[in-house]
Symmetry: D2
Subunit: 332 residues, 4 copies
Amino acid sequence: MNNFRNDYSDFGSKEIYQEIERIFDKKLSGYGTDEISKEAKDLILREIEREADIEFVSGGTATNILATTFGLRPYEAVLSASTGHITHHETGSIEATGHKVVTLETSDGKLRADEIRQIIDGQPGEIDVKIKVVYISQTTEVGTVYTIDEIKEIYEVCQEKNLYLYIDGARIAHAMAANSSSLSDYAKYSHIFSLGGTKNGAIFGEALVILDENLKKDFRYYLKQRGAMMAKSFLIGLSFKVLFQDGLYYENAKRAYDKSRMLVEGLKDLGRDPVFSESNQVFIKSSPEEIEKLKKENIFEIENAKESIIRLVTNYRTSEEEVRGFLNSINN
Amino acid sequence: MNNFRNDYSDFGSKEIYQEIERIFDKKLSGYGTDEISKEAKDLILREIEREADIEFVSGGTATNILATTFGLRPYEAVLSASTGHITHHETGSIEATGHKVVTLETSDGKLRADEIRQIIDGQPGEIDVKIKVVYISQTTEVGTVYTIDEIKEIYEVCQEKNLYLYIDGARIAHAMAANSSSLSDYAKYSHIFSLGGTKNGAIFGEALVILDENLKKDFRYYLKQRGAMMAKSFLIGLSFKVLFQDGLYYENAKRAYDKSRMLVEGLKDLGRDPVFSESNQVFIKSSPEEIEKLKKENIFEIENAKESIIRLVTNYRTSEEEVRGFLNSINN
Amino acid sequence: MNNFRNDYSDFGSKEIYQEIERIFDKKLSGYGTDEISKEAKDLILREIEREADIEFVSGGTATNILATTFGLRPYEAVLSASTGHITHHETGSIEATGHKVVTLETSDGKLRADEIRQIIDGQPGEIDVKIKVVYISQTTEVGTVYTIDEIKEIYEVCQEKNLYLYIDGARIAHAMAANSSSLSDYAKYSHIFSLGGTKNGAIFGEALVILDENLKKDFRYYLKQRGAMMAKSFLIGLSFKVLFQDGLYYENAKRAYDKSRMLVEGLKDLGRDPVFSESNQVFIKSSPEEIEKLKKENIFEIENAKESIIRLVTNYRTSEEEVRGFLNSINN
Amino acid sequence: MNNFRNDYSDFGSKEIYQEIERIFDKKLSGYGTDEISKEAKDLILREIEREADIEFVSGGTATNILATTFGLRPYEAVLSASTGHITHHETGSIEATGHKVVTLETSDGKLRADEIRQIIDGQPGEIDVKIKVVYISQTTEVGTVYTIDEIKEIYEVCQEKNLYLYIDGARIAHAMAANSSSLSDYAKYSHIFSLGGTKNGAIFGEALVILDENLKKDFRYYLKQRGAMMAKSFLIGLSFKVLFQDGLYYENAKRAYDKSRMLVEGLKDLGRDPVFSESNQVFIKSSPEEIEKLKKENIFEIENAKESIIRLVTNYRTSEEEVRGFLNSINN
């Protein structure tokens, strides 16, 4: 079977397990206070080229909860594209902290600076919530990738309107592979962003890069309170250390991205036109009959059953054979 | 000035103050345990023609918080029309309790039974919230009124899908004036509904009629916790007693409704076509210039500045002179 | 029956109803934006002798929720005496907003400055909550009254440790009657405090006096969100206007206090020693048999059933006859 | 250095990594839907000898949040010993979900059945929260271990009073080593309990065993919402599979327990009397001077600085050399 179901089905990069084997008898202190986590943070800081607080978090939903809601006062809200992961894929986790998610319809999963300005300026005052955080995902849930210019413009509106910009970087590595952006770009144009580990070769876990002073203060209290500070946080620290010490983080993403390009090109050659497939998530319009056929040799998810849109995800362990296999089965 | 700003600008019906004067030296027990509240509840029970628990609540927002969220488990959500009062007029009060409000776009402020069934059947499972409460307002925020048949159909879907139907009856009296429905209808076709006092002659306060057994159990704990159980709850009880003992509740609403009809007819005579103005809220499309002119002799709110839609609200104390005054000023 | 059950069993001062009658036909704007509320606020500001934001709130529990939790970040907590009203008399209303109430055992219902300093200095860091708000009640729930010096010392610790001091003034009027303190004292030595109306002659409602800039900002959003901003907020404004325009607020409290002194002196004459009865709440140790006897002609609450401690509350409408009546029945 | 700091400083049992190596190229489905998790659950079910739902959770704090608060209505609360982990070691995580933790002082970290009955029977009604969940930890935070009879009695009170009993089993394995209880005992006498992995050889993660039907229903929605359902949940599943397939879970605990006995016996031989050290946490009264001396060759935490009580924790990887090393350094 060719497996394109998602990018979190593997155990993580083997280099991490080699490192665990090497230091297996070490006893490390808990809750992210260990020396390996320290090394990992220094490696990330080197990449982002500015001062920041970095915390390792157990998973993506927890990361989004923490980053979007930590800086909010009770009546403040989060703005997201209506396709944003936090709106309908995390079981109301933001609302569960007491805060509304205000959504904007978009054509391509991306918020635009001028739309944000407009919605902020049109807020009616105390009878409604007050938006304080802008949530964007890089790459987006529909397969698009923000340019750094687009993010910069959003950031500037946030600065002007006294908002926080949070970039959900669950797939930020794949975005960097797609548009040659660098971590220092994201650190320049956001108040807090996440660095996905789960989907790019870590055993598991995400890193949060906290840039705004107000969000740094006492952040670890919140990390602990929400159950996202792991006793064995060093496992995440070690994953990030291995991923960043020799560029594996970027290599993994490039490998996933290259396979997605191979897939997109192959589909185009077959006369199929993938929609919004700028990174490692490839979406194609299919049909109920074709889906049945494809399922025999391929594993994937159906993004939109009504319109028969399927999603193919590559990751760093996707093989060329799998890509060819899928293209073959669509061609028969 | 002709005042159409809203229906909560007055001190309440003078009959209530007469009753207070009559019993001024009485000392009444607190938190709704007094005998007057008991009498008021009995009067309401007589109208709804079935067994129910009734609680008096300090105000409308509190009433909506209590009624929509009491029965929810952490991951459960509320469904509302996107124009519903709870979505953008109560400062995220539902989300502040930890629950998402899922919204549906409508053409006229009304949810439809089949749309509800569709959204329930299409829920994706544990990655998203699960709708448990359907919120509708009678009358709606855009001026329409549900027929009892429409509510019955919604109630039946709720029964079928194991949902609670809550009817926000802040203006339920005006709905009854408009479509000859009765309180027993609402008690038949909902799990919980509110009976607005504030906008129909009470000094202040609302009544919640709780029909579902699960929502009755321990409800007063929640009333207390949310700060909505008043020490002097007898003030609300007394308002409702006076309003219901001789039909004043209905008379007040009829008076407000009649003025709104006079207004609508007058506007039609002038070639103006009020939109969705089925009850005591009358909406008309105006223009920036006309609005300026109207403001000189009339008080009202602008519902939609971009489209110059203004809102005129009548209540039981609106006079015929005020209606004529407004019609005159629009005609000049 | 001599009624000492509580101080919120009456309709409020008759002067307020006279004022309502006088302006009965006025239409007032909603949600506290009316001119009468403005006048009331100016009258209060005159008393507190400094700049402040003042908001009127529907009731005491709502007031406490708003004042203690508005300024908190998610991991911050409230410190209270274990007898504090918010700990076991408001159904977990503070916790319901997501914040812990840390309690201290006291001998007399009062927190002390040095104990507060000690608990703050001993906090263990991110594994536990961080106290941000100190809650004290004036008068306390056990009948004692803080001296202004005691409050000043607590305030100074709060300043030093970057905490907010909130004074729950549900019975602050009675405290002023008891110890000759003034509203300007409380405004000098707190960040936010409440001015009880319900228990001192208002129809209903409380005033919150907000002194700290951070707590002022956007406070009305929270007031609205928690369902405590009343549509007919002018009723509370009007109560406070009448209470403050000619000193009725102080007169009412004095009247209640004088009756409590009469009661205390009478009890002492009978060889009974009321405990902690420094203000309008008088506590005496009784016995099951005596309680049965007293109940025949008196209404009161049992504070502590196990120890047979009963509570007698006077208010501005308590009569000398009632006091004499109670003393007679205890003497027979 | 002899390391007794805690029992979560290691990478987990090497057998788990051997299993990962064996199946390294497998792609497993996400969020606990994989076949390995299924196998692990079956192995646990075999041990508990009754039907149950089992979910794997990212960490201990998350586990406690989920288990204690899932079944609560808004006004319901949790009862815990004042030493319970949820009271002052998890940053107010329970309160952050909106629920109060009511605490009881105990002499030895254990709740007693009759105390629970007493507190339940003495609840004052709607002015205070209503206890619904009883939280106990096995082993307790002070080093004691409940007997199964004690738990049975607590469970019976919970059944009688319609409460849920949750057993926090972060160190349940060590309890079983200490008192020969079995998982089937805990499954018989609780409504939900956790099975600690982090502290007993798992890479990381805990298992929740859900026995009550009401707590089973839709539990995974809550797991997702609170950010505790891991994309790579199979890592936890695999840990538990390896731990339970050949009894490693029990062996690990026994190894830890045996070292703690060796430590306790050695201390007694030196005339020292460890307090409450019934399992793998050993507490001894020391002195500031001795602590300084011990720190030179040993790593441990200070439980109570004021009283110079130190905590020594053994786990499955503690060596006899470390134990002897510590005893030597205390003897010199």
